[in-house]
Subunit: 186 residues, 2 copies
């Protein structure tokens, strides 16, 4: 997936590894993360496959930078990926792994667990309001302004997802509190 994420970004315009890292950090952060170590490695792999090419740019005083751009065969690969059957629906959910085995801990501790998730939902929303993925900035950068509709869709998903998780944790906490009351009633 990261390979195609990088191809997709380079398809908007040439970038350095550092630019790519910043884009992941600023705009894709809520659905994908990537360290520079991985990005630089993948850029080498993409170059070996002939999907991207690089150009050394010397800067006054500053060290050189490498500008990467997508090639014709890179565009082909990007489109192959977009057209393949796999929608990417199956995901792994660490949050559910941790929930599944909570029978080992006390009800009180588990209420705390769900409250911590709620706090993270809140953080996510605050982070989104403080620096929303900067769509208008990208819109200017890219020739085709229709791209923005798909960017907005990912944000809409993010919001709906957070609301859902928040609602789910409320239910979970309610169930645990009902259970606690039942046992004290005996």
């Amino acid at each position: 997936m990261l390979k195609h994420g990088i191809l997709g970004l380079l398809n908007y315009g040439a970038m350095t590894g550092y630019d790519i890292m910043l884009t992941f950090k600023n705009s894709l952060r809520f659905f994908w993360s990537a360290q520079t170590s991985q990005i630089y490695r993948e850029l080498q792999t993409l170059k070996n496959k002939g999907w991207v090419k690089d150009e050394n740019i010397s800067q006054n005083g500053k060290p050189d930078k490498k500008l990467f751009s997508i090639t014709a065969s890179g565009k082909e690969e990007l489109n192959r990926w977009l057209l393949e059957d796999d929608t990417g629906f199956e995901t792994k959910s660490p949050i559910l792994m941790k929930t599944f085995f909570r029978g080992e801990r006390s009800i009180e501790e588990n209420v705390e667990f769900f409250k911590r998730i709620q706090a993270e939902c809140q953080e996510f929303i605050s982070g989104m309001q403080a620096s929303p993925p900067n769509i208008t900035k990208y819109q200017k950068m890219v020739k085709n302004p229709e791209n923005a509709i798909y960017w907005k869709m990912t944000i809409e998903y993010g919001i709906m997802y957070i609301k859902m998780v928040n609602e789910w944790t409320n239910k979970c906490i309610q169930e645990l509190e009902d259970l606690k009351n039942e046992s004290t009633d005996d």
Copy 2:
């Protein structure tokens, strides 16, 4: 995460690698997947760490099997993991990666993309109805029947998540169709 998933299962009772694979396939499938190759490797790692031990069981005629069980230090590790701050909230979403870059393809193709996701939502629901994660079976196996409440929570999450994704794809398709109508109006 897989390490702790395996520890969590062995905490319910001794199992072979094959049993663990079946449990992932039958009951944890909608939030985690694991191949036998990975399971057998992790079991060796867990054994080297002293978190599990194994016992060879000879069977009449059949080849031996290895029964794995959790050790005292394995239980400690399981509890350390359950109590650590990380809730596992951050996930990677391949579905959003594929959505983000769809500006490269036509509106018609992208409507198809979202309809394929809806079909997968439907498959998920059918699969859930055909063979729901068998809670009552586990409940008998385990001493503490309170575990079931957490298993049910993961299923509840699964259902809420699918509903959300389905709703989201409806919105996406609606937006794309509005866009199509606007452009034909010109």
